[in-house]
Amino acid sequence: MKTIFDKSVPGRRAVRNVSSGVDAQPPIKPELLRDTPPELPELSELDVVRHFTELSSRNFGVDTGFYPLGSCTMKYNPKATERVAHYPGFAYLHPLIPQLAGGEMMVQGALEVLYEMARLLSEICGMAQFTMQPLAGAHGELTGVMIIAAYHADRGHEKTTILIPDSAHGTNPASAAIAGFAVKTVPSTADGVMDVDALKAVLDDKVAGLMLTCPNTLGLFNPRIKEIADLIHSVDGLMYCDGANLNALLGRCRPGDVGFDIVHVNLHKTFATPHGGGGPGAGPVGVVEKLTDFLPTSVICEREDGSYWLDYDRPKSIGYVAPFYGNFAIIVRAYAYLLMLGGEGLRRVSGNAVLNANYVLAKLKGHYDLPVDRVCKHECVFSAARQAARGVRALNVAKALIDRGFHPPTVYFPLIVPEALMIEPTETESKETLDAFVDAMIEIAALAESAPEQLTACPTTTPVGQLDETLAARKPDVASLGSGDG
């Protein structure tokens, strides 16, 4: 499909600007101006609307169909939460207002949303306090690791290492490294959970903390989690919980009660805000009491009269991790979702998420290899190793699912499972949808035996087939440049 720049017609216009209504000339000396305007497309409003509407038809979202992308919790995003985020009292509120003399009282509704959301998350996760600032999951991880660094610096510890299991998301080691720590990997047992003996072998006084996803990326709850936490605490290390999989635990098990000191949650996963095709998300971070001094500034506080204020005077704080108070419009959506869910709704979410995952597990067992055969939490991980032996790799299974109207599961992750297919159905999907997906998966497994060549050509129903990624990386074409100033 042509790019929007290819469709440009010189002289065509969409938006008409207001005129300045004043006599002034642009008060800028000519040497500071550009010679020609940037080569943006010249189109009518209808041209632009048609272009992007056509692009939207080449996309697949949760509203399009089943999206069992493991570790991503692609649940339904309730429309009411979209609506409230666009209320003018939220959308047109300038973030600098509360920093002006007399401004704080003009943003009490917004501060209440932030304060209440942080309080609810603290209750759900068993933490003392939350910051709503981090702007994505990985940003929450980085914030958490910065808090770990600040805690040890404050105590005069010389800590250099963060421990991470081999099943972790790539963001965990990346976050630890860019915050200045060395990363040591701890292997998993054949049961798919952290090997406690291996942990003991690498544990020493240099360990600043352990980053663990709970339940882990195989969808498994580690029954020895408390023992692991005690080990880390024995060297005054901190336990970091990657909350990507919190959907499995809502209302049933709290990271704080398990022994975690820090947790980030992904509002765009667990709390039903849309993923936006790659953000914006939000990754609030909660901490236990001994770490609250290190949270980013500002901190939202409540006065005795019930009004809210922003505390910038936090000498031990790690500082600003966001320009203001977080991705506010995302937090508004998540808060509205939590209001509708309520306390009892949380258990319903985790219960049905885990029920749906175990149902898919039970139905597909026997058709695909199952690396760890035990009850899972919100997601199950199969291996397409058996099919790969017939020339049908996990990637081909994924593409065959596309032709059958489904978004594929996460493939090739976690790294410790060969040909991994990581399936997270979420609680919002019906049995009929799961059955249709299971049928498609079983049909694909059968075809892998009888006619594998039918699968390796997939997808055939999409606007483009499998794209040449090697070419894309070898000769990067990442921008169409104009002819003018470009």
Binding site: T3, R13, V15, N17, G21, A24, P26, P27, E31, L32, R34, L40, P41, E45, V48, L55, R58, N59, T64, K75, V84, P88, A91, Y92, P95, Q99, A101, G102, I124, L135, A136, A138, A149, H169, G170, T171, V183, G251, R252, N266, G278, P280, G319, F324, Y325, I330, L339, G342, G343, G345, L355, I402, H407, E427, K431, V464, G465, V478, G482, D485
Partner: protein, 444 residues
Amino acid sequence: MPFIANTEAQQREMLAAIGVESIEELFADIPPELLCCGLDIPPGLTEQEARTKMAALAGRNTTGQIGFLGGGFYDHFIPAALEAIVTRSEFYTAYTPYQPEISQGTLQAIYEFQSAICRLVDMEVANASIYDGGTAVYEAIMMALRITRRNQVIIDDSVSPIHRKMVRSYTGNLGIDLEETASRGGLPDRDALAAQISDATAAVIVQNPNFFGCIDDVSDLAEMVHARGGLLIVSCYPIAMGLLKPPGQMGADIVVGEGQSLGMPVSFGGPYLGFMATRKKHIRKMPGRIAGRTVDARGREGFVLTLQAREQHIRREKATSNICTNQGLCALTAVVYLSLLGKQGLRELARVCAEKADYARERLLQVPGVTMRFPKRWYFNEFVLNLPMAADKVIRALFTRNIAAGFPLGRYWPEMSNCLLVALTEKRTKEDIDYLAHALEVIL
């Protein structure tokens, strides 16, 4: 049940298929002492109740002021066609485009966003977005450290103080030699910078227009830092690019900025949009997602996420950044906005902002006791006034007249407690400006 499809009968069928009696049994792997029994969270509301409550909370915020607040976050007009496009759920309910065949909408939009950013700032390559402008400055610094393998960074203090604070936080544990230079007369101090730049300097960071609203040609700074083997990072305001000489034509190596003004409401702090562009030779050192154009086996053009060998899911602790989820929908918003404005429209809009600012400056300088803090400079849409009393007092008084007068610089520069940063966009009318001037005359 809200947001749950399966009936109790279906749940029982499913439990039977699994071979367990109850949902609770599926949680038997969690040691009982770790299970929690009940949270202190009120029962769920209906949609109607929740929307009423949220409307009440939104109503407790005052958004009706005549606003002259900017500081890097601007209240521009948003066309209805933009909202119609970006609220299409095919876009907003999709994940990061890991499966390109069913994500061509997102991927092509990112490619077009990258192209639009390159054209705005006159660079060759751009990424798919970073959380916000401040994080983009930090990521640019980290990128410069990787490219130059040096450890010193010099940041001019006319760069947004919010962004500078973020950089300090991000790099606190990294042992980077991060130095700030004091600007002089509203612009980076050339003499101070010349003295400070050394063979250890990885990058100099400036902003244009800077936090005081002053416009500069930083070509000489580019030469100065290049002569010592370092890089120039320029943070810029994308609307200004409709009119001003772009950083790419001044020798910048990495261009970043806050893209909120490209069609996003100010939304009490986010979501916003960090952007980053650079020269082609640095593309493999750039952080973040990048969409690239390629072909399928039948020669049909399409788009993929490319150069992923830089990224955390492949390189883990050796990745260029930890960024994963970024600001995809905001990047879409920006490219739709720029497409609706178009080549002539953006220039016109930039001119309108500059003209209104010029009128505002002239009108406000007629108020007795008000002077320009940096009278010799050129401005785009924002400028600093000296007031005859503390800016905080003026702001408080003008709030009562329904005016958000601007940002008090004393918050970050204690010696500038009488200084007010005033911003204009196309949404402020001549009458608004006259009203502000009149109110100032009454107060001062």
